[in-house]
Amino acid sequence: MSYRFAVLWLKAFRDSPEKVCQLYADDFLFEDLMLGQSITDKADLARAFAPYANADPDNGIGVHEFRIDEVIGDENRALIRWTWRATGAGAFLGIPTNGKVVGTTGHTMHIYEDGKIKRESTYWDATSVLRDLGQPVSTRGVTAPRAVAPATV
């Protein structure tokens, strides 16, 4: 669909899980395998999106901000490239943030049917987040030599 639809999609993340679910077809497949999510049920989908609607910067869930970088596609399918960051998240992927703002980029493939998201496949870069949180990982390719964790994070 359009850049506008993609913005509405991300704004729905911030609004409520119910708003997000309205954008998906009744019969859908949502996959974010980085988080282990392969979801076909609206109740599960609502729970998956719930953290993104958090507005309290002090409860540890984090305030999650997204921006659309690029949308390439047509009314039937689109690749959406986006940037995310979270402030106030106590941990990410189980790693304590120690108050750091965390963020990364990703891309999402959408297939649409009758104006709704029929299929979603999202992948994003976990490695740069883990690096920023002090894990000994390298962002210099799959075969990069051994990385050393920074002394302080």
């Binding site: 390439i72 490695t127 390298s138």
Partner: protein, 168 residues
């Protein structure tokens, strides 16, 4: 009409067997994003020399040099749409790496690793790939290699959020 499944199979095969041939699938004015970090210098290849540097390790055939022996299997092919109605495709794939000394800097000890990823290709009028956007699911590999990375199934009914509290 070129077949996107054929393209995906050819790409997945050549990337681990013939670097010259896989680089030849791309246009000279290519834009290749393998993930995106804060800087384009490493993450975005903009010519074939840079692309070759990024892809060559996947065609390694020496099981003893630490670079690993790699395999890509196409799981699904989604017909996509590029800019200005250009042909495009999304390829969902499974990667397996054997004999790796490290995976993204984490010691792998030569064990066999596997995960999935998603690659989007856009083609120019000559049928060459002029854009790529790729991301890997690194998370299960890091879990396999012992990093303290957690992915609790918080979206499942009845999930106990107290399980996320640090143990003392």
């Amino acid at each position: 009409m070129p077949d996107n499944t054929d393209h995906a199979q050819r790409w997945a095969s050549l990337i681990t067997s013939d670097t010259d041939a896989v680089v030849a699938m791309f246009a000279d004015d290519l834009l290749y994003d393998d993930r995106r970090d804060v800087d384009h210098v490493f993450d975005t290849a903009t010519d074939k020399a840079q692309l070759r540097e990024r892809l060559a390790p996947f065609a390694n055939t020496d099981a003893d040099n630490g670079l690993g022996i790699h395999r890509f299997e196409v799981l699904d092919v989604i017909d996509a749409a590029g800019l200005d109605e250009a042909r495009a495709v999304a390829i969902l794939w499974k990667w397996t790496g054997e004999h790796l000394e490290n995976f993204r800097g984490v010691p792998a000890g030569g064990r066999t690793l596997s995960t999935r990823g998603q690659t989007w290709h856009q083609f120019d009028a000559a049928g060459k790939v002029n854009r790529e956007s790729s991301y890997w699911n690194d998370v299960p590999v890091y879990q396999e290699l012992g990093l303290p990375v957690l992915t609790p199934a918080y979206w499942e009914a009845g999930f106990d959020f107290s399980s996320l509290a640090p143990s003392s």
